[in-house]
Protein backbone atom coordinates (compact mmCIF):
# COMPACT_ATOMS: atom_id res chain seq x y z
CA UNK A 1 0.00 0.00 0.00
CA UNK A 2 2.84 2.34 0.90
CA UNK A 3 4.49 1.39 -2.35
CA UNK A 4 1.38 2.42 -4.28
CA UNK A 5 1.32 5.76 -2.53
CA UNK A 6 4.96 6.22 -3.41
CA UNK A 7 4.27 5.54 -7.07
CA UNK A 8 1.41 8.00 -7.20
CA UNK A 9 3.43 10.82 -5.69
CA UNK A 10 4.90 13.25 -8.21
CA UNK A 11 8.67 12.83 -8.41
CA UNK A 12 10.00 15.22 -5.85
CA UNK A 13 13.43 16.63 -6.62
CA UNK A 14 12.96 16.27 -10.39
CA UNK A 15 13.23 19.93 -11.31
CA UNK A 16 11.61 20.79 -14.64
CA UNK A 17 14.09 23.62 -15.13
CA UNK A 18 17.02 21.21 -14.85
CA UNK A 19 15.42 18.85 -17.38
CA UNK A 20 14.89 21.72 -19.82
CA UNK A 21 18.46 23.00 -19.43
CA UNK A 22 19.91 19.53 -19.88
CA UNK A 23 17.75 18.93 -22.96
CA UNK A 24 19.10 22.13 -24.57
CA UNK A 25 22.68 21.13 -23.79
CA UNK A 26 22.20 17.56 -25.02
CA UNK A 27 20.69 18.87 -28.25
CA UNK A 28 23.65 21.21 -28.77
CA UNK A 29 25.97 18.20 -28.39
CA UNK A 30 23.64 16.05 -30.52
CA UNK A 31 23.62 13.52 -27.68
CA UNK A 32 20.77 11.36 -28.98
CA UNK A 33 21.07 8.77 -26.19
CA UNK A 34 20.69 11.37 -23.45
CA UNK A 35 17.80 13.04 -25.24
CA UNK A 36 16.00 9.71 -25.53
CA UNK A 37 16.51 9.15 -21.79
CA UNK A 38 15.11 12.59 -21.10
CA UNK A 39 12.11 11.83 -23.31
CA UNK A 40 11.42 8.75 -21.16
CA UNK A 41 11.78 10.81 -17.97
CA UNK A 42 9.32 13.36 -19.32
CA UNK A 43 6.90 10.57 -20.25
CA UNK A 44 7.05 9.29 -16.67
CA UNK A 45 6.50 12.78 -15.26
CA UNK A 46 3.56 13.23 -17.59
CA UNK A 47 2.08 9.91 -16.42
CA UNK A 48 2.52 10.98 -12.79
CA UNK A 49 0.69 14.20 -13.46
CA UNK A 50 -2.15 12.46 -15.27
CA UNK A 51 -2.61 9.88 -12.50
CA UNK A 52 -2.56 12.55 -9.79
CA UNK A 53 -4.97 14.91 -11.55
CA UNK A 54 -7.72 16.06 -9.20
CA UNK A 55 -5.90 15.00 -6.06
CA UNK A 56 -4.12 17.37 -3.73
CA UNK A 57 -1.07 15.70 -2.30
CA UNK A 58 1.15 17.04 0.40
CA UNK A 59 4.93 16.87 0.26
CA UNK A 60 7.31 16.26 3.11
CA UNK A 61 7.88 20.03 3.41
CA UNK A 62 4.14 20.59 3.88
CA UNK A 63 3.62 22.23 0.51
CA UNK A 64 1.12 20.93 -2.02
CA UNK A 65 2.77 19.06 -4.90
CA UNK A 66 0.81 21.02 -7.52
CA UNK A 67 2.12 24.27 -6.04
CA UNK A 68 5.65 22.95 -6.32
CA UNK A 69 5.10 21.95 -9.94
CA UNK A 70 3.57 25.31 -10.76
CA UNK A 71 6.60 27.05 -9.27
CA UNK A 72 8.92 24.78 -11.24
CA UNK A 73 7.01 25.47 -14.45
CA UNK A 74 7.26 29.21 -13.94
CA UNK A 75 10.99 28.92 -13.30
CA UNK A 76 11.41 26.75 -16.42
CA UNK A 77 9.55 29.12 -18.77
CA UNK A 78 12.70 31.03 -19.81
CA UNK A 79 14.59 27.79 -20.35
CA UNK A 80 11.76 26.50 -22.52
CA UNK A 81 12.03 29.57 -24.75
CA UNK A 82 15.75 28.88 -25.15
CA UNK A 83 15.07 25.19 -25.81
CA UNK A 84 12.56 26.11 -28.51
CA UNK A 85 15.12 28.39 -30.18
CA UNK A 86 17.76 25.63 -30.05
CA UNK A 87 15.21 23.27 -31.59
CA UNK A 88 14.48 25.80 -34.36
CA UNK A 89 18.20 26.24 -35.07
CA UNK A 90 18.65 22.45 -35.10
CA UNK A 91 15.83 22.07 -37.62
CA UNK A 92 17.50 24.66 -39.88
CA UNK A 93 20.87 22.91 -39.51
CA UNK A 94 19.28 19.55 -40.23
CA UNK A 95 17.76 20.96 -43.41
CA UNK A 96 21.20 22.15 -44.51
CA UNK A 97 22.71 18.74 -43.75
CA UNK A 98 19.95 16.88 -45.62
CA UNK A 99 20.46 19.07 -48.68
CA UNK A 100 24.21 18.52 -48.55
CA UNK A 101 23.74 14.77 -48.34
CA UNK A 102 21.37 14.85 -51.29
CA UNK A 103 23.92 16.91 -53.19
CA UNK A 104 26.69 14.41 -52.53
CA UNK A 105 24.46 11.49 -53.42
CA UNK A 106 23.72 13.20 -56.72
CA UNK A 107 20.01 13.51 -56.00
CA UNK A 108 20.18 17.22 -56.74
CA UNK A 109 21.36 18.01 -60.23
CA UNK A 110 23.51 21.07 -59.72
CA UNK A 111 26.95 20.82 -58.19
CA UNK A 112 29.69 23.17 -57.12
CA UNK A 113 31.75 22.30 -60.20
CA UNK A 114 28.80 23.11 -62.42
CA UNK A 115 28.22 26.32 -60.57
CA UNK A 116 31.84 27.33 -61.08
CA UNK A 117 31.63 26.73 -64.81
CA UNK A 118 28.24 28.38 -65.07
CA UNK A 119 27.92 31.22 -67.51
CA UNK A 120 24.77 33.29 -67.85
CA UNK A 121 22.66 32.42 -70.87
CA UNK A 122 21.15 35.06 -73.10
CA UNK A 123 18.08 36.51 -71.46
CA UNK A 124 14.76 35.55 -73.02
CA UNK A 125 13.35 38.96 -72.52
CA UNK A 126 14.07 42.64 -72.80
CA UNK A 127 16.87 42.27 -75.32
CA UNK A 128 15.42 44.14 -78.23
Amino acid sequence: MDGMREMNRPREGLEIRAVVAEASQALARLDADRLEELALACQALNRDLASNAGTQQMQSDGRRSDETLARQAREAAGGMRAFRRVLDATRANLTVMRRLRQLREGKIEYSEAQARGWTPSEPDYGDN
Binding site: I16, V19, V20, A23, S24, Q25, A26, L27, A28, R29, L30, D31, A32, L35, E36, L38, A39, C42, Q43, L45, N46, L49, A50, A53, D66, E67, L69, A70, R71, Q72, A73, R74, A76, A77, G78, M80, R81, A82, F83, R84, R85, V86, L87, D88, A89, T90, R91, A92, N93, L94, V96, M97, R98, R99, L100, R101, L103, E112, A115, R116
Partner: protein, 470 residues
Amino acid sequence: MGTINAAFSIMTQALDADQAALNVVANNVANANTLGYTTETPNYQENQPLEIGGVSYGDGVTETGATSVRDRVLTERLNQQQQVASSTGAQLTALNTVQALFTPDSGSSSAQAGDISSDLTGFFNSFSSLEANPANNSLREEVLSSASTLASDVSNAAAGLNSQRSALDQEAGGVTSQVNSLTGAIAQLDQQIQSTSPNADAGTLEDQRQQDLSQLSQLIGVNQITTENNGISVTTTAGQPLVSEGQSFQLTTGSVNGVTHFFVGGADITAELASGGGQLGGYLTARDQDIPNVLGSLDQLAFSVSTQVNALNNAGTDLAGDNGNAGDIFSEPALVAGSAAAMSVVMTDPNHIAAAGAGMGTGDNSNATAMAALANQAIVNGATPTNYYANFVSQLGATVENVQTENTAANASVTQLQTQNNALSSVNLNDEASAMSTFERSYQAASQVFTMLNTIMASVLNLGEQATVS
Protein backbone atom coordinates in the same frame (compact mmCIF):
# COMPACT_ATOMS: atom_id res chain seq x y z
CA MET B 1 54.45 -0.41 -76.06
CA GLY B 2 55.31 -4.12 -75.55
CA THR B 3 52.96 -6.34 -73.59
CA ILE B 4 55.29 -6.92 -70.63
CA ASN B 5 56.29 -3.28 -70.52
CA ALA B 6 52.62 -2.25 -70.68
CA ALA B 7 51.67 -4.55 -67.79
CA PHE B 8 54.65 -3.32 -65.82
CA SER B 9 53.65 0.24 -66.52
CA ILE B 10 50.11 -0.41 -65.22
CA MET B 11 51.54 -1.90 -62.04
CA THR B 12 54.02 0.92 -61.44
CA GLN B 13 51.34 3.50 -62.06
CA ALA B 14 49.12 1.75 -59.55
CA LEU B 15 51.99 1.74 -57.05
CA ASP B 16 52.69 5.42 -57.75
CA ALA B 17 49.04 6.22 -57.26
CA ASP B 18 48.98 4.30 -53.98
CA GLN B 19 52.14 6.08 -52.86
CA ALA B 20 50.59 9.45 -53.67
CA ALA B 21 47.46 8.46 -51.77
CA LEU B 22 49.62 7.42 -48.83
CA ASN B 23 51.28 10.84 -48.98
CA VAL B 24 47.86 12.48 -48.79
CA VAL B 25 46.94 10.32 -45.79
CA ALA B 26 50.30 11.15 -44.16
CA ASN B 27 49.61 14.82 -44.75
CA ASN B 28 46.20 14.45 -43.08
CA VAL B 29 47.76 12.73 -40.07
CA ALA B 30 50.51 15.36 -39.80
CA ASN B 31 47.94 18.15 -39.87
CA ALA B 32 45.36 16.47 -37.65
CA ASN B 33 45.80 19.15 -35.00
CA THR B 34 46.22 22.11 -37.36
CA LEU B 35 43.44 24.61 -36.79
CA GLY B 36 41.29 24.98 -39.90
CA TYR B 37 43.01 22.18 -41.80
CA THR B 38 40.58 20.25 -43.98
CA THR B 39 41.25 16.58 -44.63
CA GLU B 40 42.23 15.86 -48.20
CA THR B 41 41.20 12.83 -50.23
CA PRO B 42 43.30 11.61 -53.16
CA ASN B 43 41.82 11.95 -56.65
CA TYR B 44 42.40 9.16 -59.14
CA GLN B 45 42.03 9.52 -62.88
CA GLU B 46 41.53 6.50 -65.08
CA ASN B 47 44.22 6.24 -67.75
CA GLN B 48 43.49 5.58 -71.42
CA PRO B 49 43.02 1.82 -71.98
CA LEU B 50 45.70 -0.11 -73.89
CA GLU B 51 44.92 -2.00 -77.08
CA ILE B 52 46.99 -5.22 -77.21
CA GLY B 53 46.25 -7.68 -79.93
CA GLY B 54 42.81 -6.20 -80.46
CA VAL B 55 41.98 -6.58 -76.76
CA SER B 56 41.49 -3.52 -74.57
CA TYR B 57 43.25 -3.55 -71.20
CA GLY B 58 42.71 -1.05 -68.49
CA ASP B 59 45.71 1.14 -67.96
CA GLY B 60 45.37 1.69 -64.25
CA VAL B 61 44.94 4.99 -62.52
CA THR B 62 47.02 8.07 -61.89
CA GLU B 63 46.78 10.16 -58.76
CA THR B 64 45.93 13.65 -59.95
CA GLY B 65 46.06 15.60 -56.73
CA ALA B 66 44.11 15.94 -53.53
CA THR B 67 40.75 17.54 -52.89
CA SER B 68 39.82 18.94 -49.53
CA VAL B 69 36.63 17.48 -48.16
CA ARG B 70 34.94 20.72 -47.44
CA ASP B 71 31.52 21.89 -48.08
CA ARG B 72 31.05 25.54 -48.69
CA VAL B 73 27.35 25.44 -47.90
CA LEU B 74 28.04 23.98 -44.48
CA THR B 75 30.95 26.30 -43.71
CA GLU B 76 28.90 29.30 -44.83
CA ARG B 77 26.08 28.22 -42.52
CA LEU B 78 28.65 27.77 -39.76
CA ASN B 79 30.04 31.27 -40.38
CA GLN B 80 26.53 32.74 -40.41
CA GLN B 81 25.64 31.12 -37.07
CA GLN B 82 29.03 32.16 -35.69
CA GLN B 83 28.15 35.76 -36.55
CA VAL B 84 24.92 35.50 -34.55
CA ALA B 85 26.68 33.79 -31.62
CA SER B 86 29.44 36.42 -31.51
CA SER B 87 27.01 39.30 -31.83
CA THR B 88 24.63 38.10 -29.12
CA GLY B 89 27.61 37.13 -26.92
CA ALA B 90 29.09 40.64 -27.07
CA GLN B 91 25.66 42.23 -26.58
CA LEU B 92 24.91 39.94 -23.63
CA THR B 93 28.17 40.79 -21.87
CA ALA B 94 27.37 44.50 -22.23
CA LEU B 95 23.77 44.04 -21.07
CA ASN B 96 24.80 42.03 -18.02
CA THR B 97 27.04 44.90 -16.96
CA VAL B 98 24.16 47.34 -17.47
CA GLN B 99 21.76 45.12 -15.54
CA ALA B 100 24.20 44.85 -12.64
CA LEU B 101 23.91 48.62 -12.23
CA PHE B 102 20.21 48.22 -11.45
CA THR B 103 20.42 45.18 -9.20
CA PRO B 104 19.64 46.19 -5.60
CA ASP B 105 22.67 46.50 -3.34
CA SER B 106 25.00 45.34 -6.07
CA GLY B 107 26.81 48.61 -6.59
CA SER B 108 29.73 50.11 -4.73
CA SER B 109 29.07 52.52 -1.87
CA SER B 110 29.30 55.43 -4.29
CA ALA B 111 27.04 53.96 -6.96
CA GLN B 112 24.16 51.95 -5.56
CA ALA B 113 21.97 52.53 -8.57
CA GLY B 114 20.06 49.39 -7.73
CA ASP B 115 18.55 51.17 -4.77
CA ILE B 116 16.76 53.82 -6.86
CA SER B 117 13.39 52.21 -6.15
CA SER B 118 13.85 52.42 -2.37
CA ASP B 119 15.41 55.88 -2.79
CA LEU B 120 12.18 57.09 -4.45
CA THR B 121 10.06 55.60 -1.69
CA GLY B 122 12.35 57.09 0.98
CA PHE B 123 12.24 60.53 -0.63
CA PHE B 124 8.44 60.76 -0.84
CA ASN B 125 8.08 59.20 2.63
CA SER B 126 10.25 61.98 4.04
CA PHE B 127 7.52 64.46 2.99
CA SER B 128 4.92 62.27 4.71
CA SER B 129 6.96 62.53 7.92
CA LEU B 130 7.25 66.29 7.49
CA GLU B 131 3.46 66.57 7.24
CA ALA B 132 3.16 65.67 10.94
CA ASN B 133 5.55 68.38 12.07
CA PRO B 134 6.25 70.84 9.22
CA ALA B 135 8.51 73.14 11.25
CA ASN B 136 10.76 70.37 12.58
CA ASN B 137 14.33 71.00 11.44
CA SER B 138 15.56 67.40 11.59
CA LEU B 139 12.61 66.26 9.45
CA ARG B 140 13.47 69.01 6.96
CA GLU B 141 17.11 67.83 6.97
CA GLU B 142 15.83 64.31 6.31
CA VAL B 143 13.99 65.52 3.18
CA LEU B 144 17.18 67.03 1.74
CA SER B 145 19.22 64.01 2.75
CA SER B 146 16.86 61.54 1.03
CA ALA B 147 16.70 63.84 -2.03
CA SER B 148 20.48 63.81 -2.14
CA THR B 149 20.62 60.00 -1.91
CA LEU B 150 18.13 59.69 -4.78
CA ALA B 151 19.92 62.24 -6.98
CA SER B 152 23.28 60.67 -6.27
CA ASP B 153 22.14 57.14 -7.16
CA VAL B 154 20.41 58.32 -10.35
CA SER B 155 23.40 60.36 -11.52
CA ASN B 156 25.80 57.54 -10.61
CA ALA B 157 23.70 55.12 -12.67
CA ALA B 158 23.82 57.54 -15.62
CA ALA B 159 27.58 57.91 -15.19
CA GLY B 160 27.91 54.10 -15.13
CA LEU B 161 25.89 53.82 -18.36
CA ASN B 162 27.93 56.54 -20.09
CA SER B 163 31.14 54.90 -18.98
CA GLN B 164 29.91 51.53 -20.28
CA ARG B 165 29.02 53.19 -23.59
CA SER B 166 32.51 54.68 -23.90
CA ALA B 167 34.10 51.30 -23.17
CA LEU B 168 31.96 49.69 -25.89
CA ASP B 169 32.91 52.50 -28.27
CA GLN B 170 36.59 51.76 -27.70
CA GLU B 171 36.11 48.03 -28.11
CA ALA B 172 34.16 48.58 -31.33
CA GLY B 173 36.91 50.83 -32.72
CA GLY B 174 39.52 48.22 -31.84
CA VAL B 175 37.84 45.65 -34.08
CA THR B 176 38.65 47.73 -37.19
CA SER B 177 42.33 46.82 -37.42
CA GLN B 178 41.56 43.12 -37.02
CA VAL B 179 38.93 43.30 -39.77
CA ASN B 180 41.33 45.09 -42.14
CA SER B 181 44.10 42.63 -41.44
CA LEU B 182 41.79 39.70 -42.22
CA THR B 183 40.24 41.18 -45.37
CA GLY B 184 43.76 42.01 -46.61
CA ALA B 185 44.87 38.42 -46.02
CA ILE B 186 41.75 37.03 -47.71
CA ALA B 187 42.34 39.24 -50.75
CA GLN B 188 45.96 38.02 -51.03
CA LEU B 189 44.94 34.38 -50.67
CA ASP B 190 42.26 34.93 -53.26
CA GLN B 191 44.83 36.20 -55.76
CA GLN B 192 47.05 33.16 -55.09
CA ILE B 193 44.16 30.71 -55.39
CA GLN B 194 42.90 32.27 -58.62
CA SER B 195 46.34 32.12 -60.20
CA THR B 196 47.36 28.65 -59.01
CA SER B 197 44.08 26.71 -58.82
CA PRO B 198 41.45 28.48 -60.91
CA ASN B 199 39.51 25.25 -61.58
CA ALA B 200 40.33 23.03 -58.64
CA ASP B 201 40.36 22.95 -54.89
CA ALA B 202 43.41 24.89 -53.68
CA GLY B 203 43.92 22.74 -50.57
CA THR B 204 45.74 24.51 -47.76
CA LEU B 205 45.32 27.91 -49.41
CA GLU B 206 41.56 27.42 -49.28
CA ASP B 207 41.86 26.20 -45.70
CA GLN B 208 43.65 29.41 -44.81
CA ARG B 209 41.08 31.51 -46.64
CA GLN B 210 38.28 29.64 -44.88
CA GLN B 211 39.99 30.09 -41.54
CA ASP B 212 40.31 33.83 -42.13
CA LEU B 213 36.67 34.04 -43.20
CA SER B 214 35.62 32.22 -40.06
CA GLN B 215 37.58 34.70 -37.92
CA LEU B 216 36.10 37.59 -39.89
CA SER B 217 32.61 36.19 -39.24
CA GLN B 218 33.25 36.37 -35.53
CA LEU B 219 34.10 40.06 -35.85
CA ILE B 220 31.49 41.38 -38.30
CA GLY B 221 28.54 40.13 -40.31
CA VAL B 222 29.65 39.15 -43.81
CA ASN B 223 28.34 37.42 -46.90
CA GLN B 224 30.67 35.46 -49.15
CA ILE B 225 30.01 35.01 -52.85
CA THR B 226 31.89 32.50 -55.01
CA THR B 227 33.24 34.11 -58.15
CA GLU B 228 34.92 32.70 -61.25
CA ASN B 229 38.32 31.00 -61.11
CA ASN B 230 37.72 29.77 -57.57
CA GLY B 231 37.67 33.27 -56.13
CA ILE B 232 35.36 34.81 -53.59
CA SER B 233 33.90 38.22 -52.89
CA VAL B 234 33.20 39.24 -49.33
CA THR B 235 30.64 41.89 -48.50
CA THR B 236 28.98 43.17 -45.36
CA THR B 237 25.53 41.67 -44.82
CA ALA B 238 24.09 44.81 -46.40
CA GLY B 239 26.23 44.31 -49.52
CA GLN B 240 29.13 46.74 -49.01
CA PRO B 241 32.20 45.09 -50.65
CA LEU B 242 35.11 44.25 -48.35
CA VAL B 243 37.00 41.90 -50.71
CA SER B 244 36.47 41.76 -54.44
CA GLU B 245 38.65 40.45 -57.27
CA GLY B 246 41.66 40.00 -55.03
CA GLN B 247 41.42 43.49 -53.60
CA SER B 248 40.40 44.48 -50.08
CA PHE B 249 38.53 47.62 -49.10
CA GLN B 250 39.66 49.07 -45.79
CA LEU B 251 37.29 49.83 -42.95
CA THR B 252 38.02 53.27 -41.49
CA THR B 253 36.69 55.06 -38.43
CA GLY B 254 35.74 58.62 -37.57
CA SER B 255 34.04 60.40 -34.72
CA VAL B 256 30.42 61.44 -35.30
CA ASN B 257 28.58 63.14 -32.40
CA GLY B 258 31.19 61.85 -30.00
CA VAL B 259 31.03 58.19 -30.98
CA THR B 260 33.02 56.08 -33.43
CA HIS B 261 31.43 55.55 -36.84
CA PHE B 262 32.63 53.13 -39.49
CA PHE B 263 33.22 53.86 -43.15
CA VAL B 264 34.15 52.00 -46.32
CA GLY B 265 35.24 54.54 -48.89
CA GLY B 266 33.03 57.51 -48.11
CA ALA B 267 30.01 55.47 -47.00
CA ASP B 268 29.02 55.40 -43.32
CA ILE B 269 28.11 51.76 -42.69
CA THR B 270 27.74 51.95 -38.89
CA ALA B 271 24.01 51.16 -38.85
CA GLU B 272 24.35 48.18 -41.16
CA LEU B 273 27.28 46.83 -39.15
CA ALA B 274 25.14 47.10 -35.99
CA SER B 275 22.45 44.87 -37.46
CA GLY B 276 24.89 42.65 -39.37
CA GLY B 277 26.21 40.43 -36.60
CA GLY B 278 29.62 39.50 -35.24
CA GLN B 279 31.25 41.03 -32.17
CA LEU B 280 31.12 44.49 -33.73
CA GLY B 281 27.37 44.12 -34.33
CA GLY B 282 26.89 43.22 -30.65
CA TYR B 283 29.02 46.12 -29.42
CA LEU B 284 27.22 48.60 -31.67
CA THR B 285 23.73 47.31 -30.78
CA ALA B 286 24.52 47.72 -27.08
CA ARG B 287 26.20 51.10 -27.62
CA ASP B 288 23.62 52.62 -29.98
CA GLN B 289 20.36 50.97 -28.89
CA ASP B 290 20.35 49.19 -25.54
CA ILE B 291 22.27 51.70 -23.44
CA PRO B 292 20.61 54.79 -24.97
CA ASN B 293 17.20 53.18 -24.28
CA VAL B 294 18.05 52.62 -20.61
CA LEU B 295 19.62 56.05 -20.29
CA GLY B 296 16.55 57.61 -21.94
CA SER B 297 14.27 55.98 -19.35
CA LEU B 298 16.47 57.13 -16.49
CA ASP B 299 16.56 60.66 -17.96
CA GLN B 300 12.77 60.68 -18.13
CA LEU B 301 12.50 59.61 -14.48
CA ALA B 302 15.00 62.25 -13.33
CA PHE B 303 13.36 64.97 -15.45
CA SER B 304 9.82 64.29 -14.25
CA VAL B 305 10.67 63.93 -10.55
CA SER B 306 12.92 67.02 -10.54
CA THR B 307 10.55 69.31 -12.41
CA GLN B 308 7.41 68.20 -10.52
CA VAL B 309 9.01 68.49 -7.06
CA ASN B 310 10.57 71.87 -7.93
CA ALA B 311 7.26 73.18 -9.28
CA LEU B 312 5.42 72.22 -6.10
CA ASN B 313 8.11 73.66 -3.84
CA ASN B 314 7.92 76.94 -5.74
CA ALA B 315 4.14 76.94 -5.38
CA GLY B 316 4.17 76.80 -1.54
CA THR B 317 5.44 78.83 1.41
CA ASP B 318 8.70 77.99 3.16
CA LEU B 319 9.74 78.40 6.79
CA ALA B 320 11.35 81.78 6.01
CA GLY B 321 8.00 83.00 4.73
CA ASP B 322 8.90 82.98 1.04
CA ASN B 323 5.60 82.56 -0.77
CA GLY B 324 5.77 81.21 -4.35
CA ASN B 325 9.53 81.60 -4.63
CA ALA B 326 10.98 79.15 -2.14
CA GLY B 327 13.41 77.88 -4.79
CA ASP B 328 14.31 74.51 -6.34
CA ILE B 329 15.16 71.38 -4.38
CA PHE B 330 16.76 69.64 -7.40
CA SER B 331 18.74 71.27 -10.19
CA GLU B 332 16.10 72.21 -12.76
CA PRO B 333 16.66 70.30 -16.03
CA ALA B 334 16.02 72.19 -19.26
CA LEU B 335 15.78 69.04 -21.43
CA VAL B 336 14.93 65.40 -20.78
CA ALA B 337 18.22 64.24 -22.35
CA GLY B 338 21.01 64.43 -19.80
CA SER B 339 18.67 64.92 -16.82
CA ALA B 340 19.83 61.78 -15.00
CA ALA B 341 23.54 62.54 -15.26
CA ALA B 342 22.95 66.11 -14.08
CA MET B 343 20.54 65.27 -11.25
CA SER B 344 21.65 66.87 -8.00
CA VAL B 345 20.25 68.67 -4.95
CA VAL B 346 20.77 72.45 -5.16
CA MET B 347 18.91 73.43 -1.99
CA THR B 348 21.25 73.80 0.97
CA ASP B 349 18.98 75.44 3.55
CA PRO B 350 16.19 73.11 4.79
CA ASN B 351 14.15 76.13 5.81
CA HIS B 352 13.42 76.69 2.11
CA ILE B 353 11.39 73.51 1.86
CA ALA B 354 7.88 74.85 1.24
CA ALA B 355 5.80 72.58 3.48
CA ALA B 356 3.01 75.15 3.74
CA GLY B 357 0.53 75.92 1.01
CA ALA B 358 0.51 79.17 -0.95
CA GLY B 359 -0.39 82.09 1.28
CA MET B 360 -0.61 79.87 4.35
CA GLY B 361 1.27 80.25 7.60
CA THR B 362 4.53 78.42 8.19
CA GLY B 363 2.77 75.89 10.40
CA ASP B 364 0.67 74.64 7.51
CA ASN B 365 1.48 71.25 5.95
CA SER B 366 -0.69 71.16 2.82
CA ASN B 367 2.22 71.52 0.37
CA ALA B 368 4.19 68.76 2.13
CA THR B 369 1.09 66.57 1.74
CA ALA B 370 0.94 67.42 -1.97
CA MET B 371 4.62 66.54 -2.42
CA ALA B 372 4.20 63.23 -0.59
CA ALA B 373 1.21 62.50 -2.82
CA LEU B 374 3.43 62.72 -5.94
CA ALA B 375 4.54 59.18 -5.06
CA ASN B 376 1.14 57.88 -6.10
CA GLN B 377 0.53 60.15 -9.07
CA ALA B 378 1.24 59.28 -12.70
CA ILE B 379 3.90 61.95 -13.16
CA VAL B 380 6.43 59.95 -15.26
CA ASN B 381 5.09 59.14 -18.72
CA GLY B 382 1.73 58.08 -17.33
CA ALA B 383 3.10 56.05 -14.41
CA THR B 384 3.97 56.67 -10.78
CA PRO B 385 7.73 57.13 -10.24
CA THR B 386 8.23 53.73 -8.59
CA ASN B 387 6.07 51.91 -11.15
CA TYR B 388 7.88 53.62 -14.02
CA TYR B 389 11.23 52.56 -12.56
CA ALA B 390 10.01 49.01 -11.91
CA ASN B 391 8.73 48.74 -15.50
CA PHE B 392 11.94 49.89 -17.09
CA VAL B 393 14.07 47.56 -14.94
CA SER B 394 11.68 44.75 -15.84
CA GLN B 395 11.98 45.60 -19.57
CA LEU B 396 15.75 45.57 -19.24
CA GLY B 397 15.51 42.13 -17.67
CA ALA B 398 13.33 40.91 -20.54
CA THR B 399 15.83 42.25 -23.10
CA VAL B 400 18.69 40.46 -21.33
CA GLU B 401 16.69 37.24 -21.27
CA ASN B 402 15.87 37.47 -24.99
CA VAL B 403 19.49 38.06 -25.93
CA GLN B 404 20.51 35.21 -23.62
CA THR B 405 18.04 32.92 -25.40
CA GLU B 406 19.33 33.91 -28.84
CA ASN B 407 22.91 33.44 -27.68
CA THR B 408 22.18 29.98 -26.24
CA ALA B 409 20.51 28.92 -29.49
CA ALA B 410 23.29 30.32 -31.69
CA ASN B 411 26.02 28.68 -29.61
CA ALA B 412 24.16 25.37 -29.70
CA SER B 413 23.81 25.70 -33.46
CA VAL B 414 27.54 26.46 -33.86
CA THR B 415 28.42 23.41 -31.75
CA GLN B 416 26.19 21.19 -33.89
CA LEU B 417 27.60 22.52 -37.16
CA GLN B 418 31.19 22.16 -35.97
CA THR B 419 30.46 18.56 -35.02
CA GLN B 420 29.00 17.91 -38.45
CA ASN B 421 31.81 19.78 -40.20
CA ASN B 422 34.39 17.66 -38.39
CA ALA B 423 32.48 14.52 -39.27
CA LEU B 424 32.34 15.55 -42.91
CA SER B 425 36.04 16.37 -43.05
CA SER B 426 37.36 13.29 -41.35
CA VAL B 427 35.24 10.22 -41.99
CA ASN B 428 34.03 8.06 -44.82
CA LEU B 429 30.55 8.15 -46.29
CA ASN B 430 29.28 5.36 -44.03
CA ASP B 431 30.40 7.18 -40.92
CA GLU B 432 28.94 10.36 -42.32
CA ALA B 433 25.58 8.58 -42.74
CA SER B 434 25.87 7.46 -39.13
CA ALA B 435 26.55 11.04 -38.01
CA MET B 436 23.53 12.17 -39.98
CA SER B 437 21.40 9.49 -38.34
CA THR B 438 22.52 10.67 -34.89
CA PHE B 439 21.56 14.20 -35.91
CA GLU B 440 18.08 13.02 -36.95
CA ARG B 441 17.63 10.94 -33.76
CA SER B 442 18.69 13.87 -31.59
CA TYR B 443 16.26 16.19 -33.28
CA GLN B 444 13.36 13.72 -33.02
CA ALA B 445 14.06 12.92 -29.35
CA ALA B 446 14.42 16.62 -28.54
CA SER B 447 11.11 17.34 -30.29
CA GLN B 448 9.47 14.67 -28.11
CA VAL B 449 11.00 16.16 -24.97
CA PHE B 450 9.79 19.62 -25.97
CA THR B 451 6.25 18.41 -26.73
CA MET B 452 6.00 16.53 -23.45
CA LEU B 453 7.38 19.41 -21.43
CA ASN B 454 4.83 21.68 -23.09
CA THR B 455 2.10 19.23 -22.08
CA ILE B 456 3.42 19.27 -18.52
CA MET B 457 3.30 23.08 -18.55
CA ALA B 458 -0.30 22.94 -19.79
CA SER B 459 -1.18 20.48 -16.99
CA VAL B 460 0.27 22.84 -14.43
CA LEU B 461 -1.80 25.61 -15.98
CA ASN B 462 -4.88 23.42 -15.40
CA LEU B 463 -3.90 23.17 -11.76
CA GLY B 464 -4.71 26.87 -11.64
CA GLU B 465 -1.22 28.28 -11.84
CA GLN B 466 0.07 30.54 -14.58
CA ALA B 467 2.97 29.19 -16.62
CA THR B 468 3.65 31.00 -19.85
CA VAL B 469 5.70 29.43 -22.60
CA SER B 470 5.79 31.35 -25.81
